[in-house]
């Protein structure tokens, strides 16, 4: 067999293997979401509880702005397996850079940097202003990235961006008064030229050495005491020339940059600290006695002992966890608490079921069964807490007094799965 034919076959085999690799890696379906259901339920139900979240608009043009704001509560029963929020960063989850985050705040303080030492058990208001960049229909969430625990995603709402991506501009005026028409392309070509130049030098240096016999012949030369054959005078001259060239480029580039840009600010890598919202005295004490998840009934059942420590009768109006909201639909003030912009798919279709929905009198201690039933437990992939080593569940209860004032309380504890008779489940 001729060398030429062997080479052709090897070439053909290589092409075939390359095609197979491409088939398995390149032929893939586009992602329908961005992983908001992928986070473990123990993180979604027991770390950051987002509430009062609103979106200022459902439809914006390119360059127009949408504001996402609300509050988040850091849960007391924070799981041991997740790092505490010692360092966190407020961000947004959307499929790629389809929107630009132009402003962000935690407790009215600019949050372009990470925030440190957030206090567990406390609440923080947040706000993000996003500008439309790429036309399309995008799912927009607030996210708190907790160092060591990962991104903890808030509720997501579909926002449509209309117009043309070519019209997008991000103008900036620097401290020296220079106007940059569009920050998204500013300096990109210069960066690419520098990278290409250094890459060219690196490739030339590698080619200079690998064009000669490599490891084994060189090792043999060393074994035979002929190191003098490995590096020639020409190699020395090339190396010295390259060293001088690189240093000249670095020094020259530095001088040019400092002359052209006299005032520069380094990338800001620090963090800031902010206070939580003022702590409101808890007027409702809640203690979980028992919790079960009815697997076929898609129902979370909590037996809780509630003590009304206020001077007003209280009614339970809402249970919320992992961005899902279960409302007592017979309580108008609870239903009215759902902003029209809040995503409908995160509000349970059926009402929160209570064993006794009458107001809890001041000073009264009552044991209540709360049933939160919806297919969302499965669709949102929230029931794997049943197979976790730390099978616990947590959430927030929203009580309303006679004046319609809201009072929040945490509820948490261990949970076990049960299979009930379906007659009971079907009655929901």
């Amino acid at each position: 067999m001729s060398l030429h034919r062997m080479s052709l076959r090897r070439f053909g085999l290589s092409i075939l293997l390359a095609a197979m690799t491409a088939a398995t890696t390149l032929v893939s379906l586009p992602a329908a979401a961005h992983g908001e259901r992928a986070t473990e339920p123990y993180i979604r139900t027991r770390t950051v509880h987002w509430y009062d979240v609103t979106w200022s608009s459902e439809k914006i043009g390119v360059n127009d702005k949408v504001t996402v704001e609300g509050k988040f509560h850091l849960f007391t029963d924070w799981p041991d397996a997740a790092s505490k929020p010692e360092l966190a960063f407020l961000s947004n989850a959307s499929p790629g850079a389809v929107m630009t985050r132009v402003e962000s705040y935690i407790n009215d303080m600019p949050a372009q940097q990470s925030v440190r030492q957030l206090e567990i058990g406390r609440d923080y208001p947040f706000k993000m202003v996003m500008a439309g960049r790429v036309p399309g229909r995008w799912h927009l969430h607030p996210v708190l990235n907790v160092h060591g625990a990962g991104p903890i995603v808030g509720p997501g709402h579909w926002v449509e961006v209309t117009g043309s991506a070519a019209d997008y501009k991000l103008p900036v005026t620097t401290m020296t008064g220079e106007v940059i028409d569009d920050l998204q392309h500013y300096g990109v070509a210069r960066v690419q030229w520098w990278q290409a130049g250094y890459a060219l030098l690196a490739v030339a240096w590698i080619v200079w050495w690998i064009r000669r016999p490599l490891i084994v012949p060189r090792w043999n030369a060393i074994r035979k005491g002929r190191e003098d054959l490995l590096i020639t005078r020409t190699d020395d001259r090339v190396a010295a020339g390259l060293l001088v060239l690189v240093l000249v480029v670095v020094i020259g580039g530095y001088r040019y940059t400092t002359q052209k840009y006299e005032y520069v600010v380094p990338l800001q890598a620090g963090s800031f600290k902010t206070k939580p919202l003022p702590q409101v005295p808890s007027l409702v004490a809640v203690e979980m006695k028992d919790a079960t998840y009815d697997v076929p009934g898609r129902s979370l059942r909590l037996d809780v002992e509630i003590t009304n420590q206020s001077e007003s009768p209280m009614r339970l109006g809402e249970f919320t966890t992992a961005n899902l909201r279960f409302l007592d639909k017979s309580l108008d003030v609870a239903v009215a608490g759902v902003d029209p912009s809040f995503p409908k798919d995160l509000v349970a279709g059926s009402s929160l079921k209570l064993s006794d929905s009458s107001p809890i009198a001041p000073g009264e201690k009552r044991t209540l069964r709360i049933e939160a039933t919806d297919a969302a437990w499965e669709i949102e992939r929230l029931v794997s807490f049943l197979t976790n080593v730390d099978s616990r569940v947590g959430g927030m209860l929203f009580f309303f007094d006679a004046k319609g004032q809201r009072h929040m309380a945490e509820v948490f504890g261990p949970i076990v799965p049960v299979f009930t008779q379906l007659q009971l489940a079907q009655s929901h």
Binding site: M1, V295, R298, S350, A375, A376, I379, P417, L422
Partner: protein, 195 residues
């Protein structure tokens, strides 16, 4: 001799590549009618909508879930969860019938029937105790006029044929054999070239 070696080499390469290709591209799970595994979730297609299909046999498998075929006879719970919110606003009817091949007398072959009902919670649960192994068909209808229909045949108590596992083993053996033949022939060619 030269041609025979070339043919063998070509054949073994082809077999090897076919085996590798078969292994790498065998990702799609088999589907039963309107049921399929999609996005890591067992889904029932109902016109433009989807439902999450989950089966349980709590007395036999605890809270272990299954999709499509029911592994054993006994008490079985099936829950279908609406993925799109629109499904919570239209009536859904569920019927499980014996797969006799004749559906002209539907009531006669029906073993479970949930009449049309709006499920606000989005979950449609049903429970039935299968006493004998066999083949059945699930019929799910949605919409005011029943315009969205999903039909999925399934078996009860019939162990699945695990061809996939044996095919995987066969693929690995064929892959090893192909590489062995290829390396042997390559060495022969090198020796022939040296002489």
């Amino acid at each position: 001799m030269h041609n025979r070696t070339g043919c063998s080499w070509r054949r073994s390469t082809l077999i090897t590549c076919s085996a590798v290709l078969g292994l790498t591209l065998s990702q799609g799970a088999g589907a039963h009618g309107g049921l399929s595994v999609d996005d890591d979730m067992c889904k029932l297609r109902l016109g433009p909508f989807n439902m999450h299909f989950t089966g349980y046999q709590p007395e036999i498998n605890g809270n272990r879930e299954f999709c499509e075929d029911i592994p054993k006879v006994g008490n079985t719970i099936v829950v279908m969860d609406a993925i799109e919110p629109e499904l919570r606003e239209i009536p859904i009817e569920v019927r499980i019938i014996r797969d006799t091949g004749d559906e002209s007398q539907l009531d006669a072959v029906t073993v479970v029937h949930l009449p049309p009902k709006i499920y606000v919670s989005g979950s449609v649960p049903l429970e039935y105790s299968f006493t004998t192994p066999g083949k059945f068909v699930g019929l799910v209808t949605a919409g005011a006029q029943g315009q969205y229909v999903s039909r999925f045949p399934f078996s009860v108590g019939i162990p699945p044929k695990r061809y996939g596992f044996y095919l995987l083993l066969l693929g690995v053996v064929v892959l090893g054999l192909g590489m062995y033949r290829y390396s042997g022939m390559k060495r022969q060619r090198q020796m022939a070239g040296q002489t």
